[in-house]
């Protein structure tokens, strides 16, 4: 299968990389993946990736957090062991709500932040002791690597990539480099 062959084009500058991505996309080639040492602003849009849905999950996790906070405080402070709050022993959650707002806020943030990070790791398929996927360790230092699948167009792709300013182009068999 030809699809198992990929080209690795290596760049040394994020601006060069950005313009290269635009040129490659203009030629209707599909970019499999790009490995960078730091987040490159606007790269996702240039690659044509769908916008992240992480923000939506954060909102939902926040809703879970505030619900947990309300249920928990209601149980602890009102039901299980009713407390006299600030000299106002009304034993009503609603009437004592101001006292609970900081906890509601904190748990909303806590749930949204932690669960969003965990979701991000799962979605990116990262977990402890996982073997690194990046094909070239230099992408963790100062190099940028663009991966494009080869479909009987090795030569034209190589030429195109060289034009865009790649400093190094390797053709890799996917079998050797199985993820």
């Amino acid at each position: 299968m030809e699809a198992s062959k990929v080209i690795h084009a290596i760049y040394t500058d994020d601006d060069v990389l950005m313009s290269a991505v635009k040129k490659v996309k203009a030629q209707k080639h599909h970019i499999e993946e790009i490995y960078t040492p730091f987040p490159v602003h606007g790269l996702d849009k240039a690659m044509g990736l769908a916008p992240t849905r992480l923000a939506i999950t954060a909102f939902l996790y926040g809703c879970v957090g505030i619900t947990v906070a309300i249920t928990m405080m209601n149980f602890i402070m009102i039901k299980d062991w009713p407390q006299d709050i600030g000299g106002k022993p009304s034993f009503s959650y609603l009437e004592n709500m101001p006292a609970f707002v900081p906890i509601m806020f904190e748990l909303t943030v806590f749930f949204a932040a932690h669960l969003m990070v965990i979701t991000f790791y799962l979605r990116s398929r990262m977990w402890p002791f996982k073997k690194a996927e990046n094909p070239d360790p230099r992408t963790t230092d100062d190099h940028f690597l663009m991966e494009i699948a080869v479909h009987n167009n090795e030569e034209s792709l190589t030429n195109l990539l060289r034009e865009t300013g790649a400093v190094e182009i390797n053709i890799v068999d996917n079998d050797e480099d199985a993820h």
């Binding site: 923000a55 909102f59 709050i85 600030g86 000299g87 106002k88 101001p98 006292a99 707002v101 900081p102």
Partner: protein, 455 residues
């Protein structure tokens, strides 16, 4: 990119002013039609018609009792008290005061609201310079236009305070002070001469900054491309102004707002008023920018700039809520009578505006502007902006009215007339100032960065 105030806008603003003057005039006439002679009859009529007042009377006594320094008199004592003590008031006299205070307070609330928009924008503008922000210089001329209202607006607020006297500021009434140990203790700060002198110093400081910032900003346009001296001057005076501003804004909010309840104080009040003026100011920058863009002007403003303004509207709305809640929760929790009376009055007599304001200033901006994409849609930002402005008008309303009119509040002709009057004046001043110089501050060293701002 030139702009001239269109005739239609000018006539519209003048119509607003005229309508406003009529409304305000009606408010004063209506209030003065109730006098010492017919107040008893007036109240009897009101009760007869089953007006809202009946239930509120007991409470009103209590609130204003504090106000007119009858702290020690409970509700029951009140009736007996005014026979013996000459400084106490009958219910009729008390209501009469509230009725007469209302048009003054309505005028004051609206005047302060529009003034605070301009002052909030001035602070935002200074922050942009002091931070050497790269995204905002395309909006500088819009901000400079709005800040043109700082001086006239501030003078109007001071003038109203001067003429309203004890109609708004009870501590300006010598008779009240004579029987009030607490106000006497504060008389070193709370006296009319000091109030006016401080007000003029604040206004002078803000206006001097505004005049020079505008001058240097325009001079930078005509300067050589390598000559950034005017920009540097602006950077320095902006940093200096911000220091001056944060002190004087705080003192101004004690003087002009917090002192209407002279017994009550809150140490974060200055911050709270600042949050209100900051978010209103940023909202008005966004609204005027969108308006000018819809006229085909400001072509260099892209939707990333609108997005950033909307982010500020969102963020500062939450900041406002944070301060509002910090103030409320501590006082609610500790439940100290002389502090908590402030919120008791508002929750009992101002329930709808008090909690409605939270919905308008917090829930609406939070939900409307949370989504990133919505912050780029002009009509969405306009909708959220209108909600925020209404909410912050009510915020100022809640700060002033409970002290002056008690439970006899309503948003009727005097209030709406005042909004129209100062709204019209604001539009006239701001859009005339906008037409004076090109809409692009082309000499600003960050202008290219700003034009290419993209998020």
């Amino acid at each position: 990119m030139e702009y001239k105030i269109s005739n239609r806008l000018k006539i519209g603003a003048i119509v607003l002013i005229v309508l406003g003057v009529l409304g305000v005039g009606y408010g004063f006439m209506d209030a003065s039609s109730v006098t010492k002679e017919n107040i008893t009859e007036f109240l009897a009529n009101e009760d007869h018609h089953g007006a809202h007042a009946t239930e509120g009377h007991g409470k009103a006594h209590e609130d204003v009792a504090t106000h007119h320094e009858l702290d020690t008199h409970g509700e029951e004592a009140h009736g007996a008290a005014h026979a013996e003590e000459d400084h106490s008031m009958s219910h009729e006299e008390h209501v009469l005061h509230q009725i007469h205070n209302r048009p003054w307070s309505a005028l004051y609330v609206a005047a302060f609201f529009f003034f605070m928009i301009a002052l909030g924008v001035l602070a935002f503008y200074a922050i942009q310079y002091a931070a050497q922000a790269g995204w905002s210089p395309v909006l500088f001329r819009v901000m400079e236009g709005i800040t043109a209202y700082v001086l006239p607006g501030g003078l109007i607020v001071l003038l109203i305070a001067f003429f309203a006297d004890s109609h708004i500021f009870i501590w300006m009434d010598e008779d009240v002070v004579a029987h009030d140990a607490l106000i006497q203790g504060k008389a070193g700060w709370l006296n009319k001469t000091g109030f006016m002198i401080r007000g003029l110093i604040f206004l002078a400081g803000w206006s001097v900054y505004r005049i020079f910032a505008r001058k240097f900003s325009v001079a930078q346009d005509n300067a050589d491309i390598n000559d950034n001296r005017n920009f540097k001057k602006n950077f320095r005076i902006s940093a200096g102004f911000l220091v001056f501003y944060i002190y004087t804004e705080s003192m101004m909010s004690w003087d002009w707002i917090m002192s209407v309840d002279p017994h009550w104080f809150s140490t974060l009040f200055g911050w709270y008023v600042f949050a209100s003026m900051f978010v209103s100011g940023i909202t008005v920058i966004a609204l005027i920018t969108i308006y000018l863009k819809s006229k085909g002007l400001l072509t260099f403003v892209n939707n990333s700039h609108i997005h950033d303004l909307a982010k500020f509207m969102f963020g500062i709305s939450i900041f406002w809520t944070y301060l509002w809640f910090s103030q409320f929760m501590l006082i609610w929790y500790s439940n100290i009578p002389e502090e908590v009376t402030y919120f008791v009055t508002r929750i009992q007599d101002y329930n709808l505006p008090f909690f409605g304001m939270l919905a308008l200033n917090f829930i609406f901006p939070l939900l409307l502007l949370m989504n990133s994409d919505y912050k780029r849609i002009p009509w969405f930002v306009v909708m959220a902006g209108v909600v925020i402005l209404c909410g912050h008008y009510i915020d100022i309303f809640n700060m002033i009215m409970p002290a002056t009119v008690g439970d006899r509040w309503f948003i009727g002709i005097p209030e709406i007339g005042s909004i129209l009057l100062f709204g019209g004046l604001f539009l006239l001043v701001v859009f005339t100032a906008l037409g004076k110089y090109p809409l692009l501050a082309k000499g600003n060293p960050f202008i290219k960065e700003s034009e290419h701002f993209h998020y």
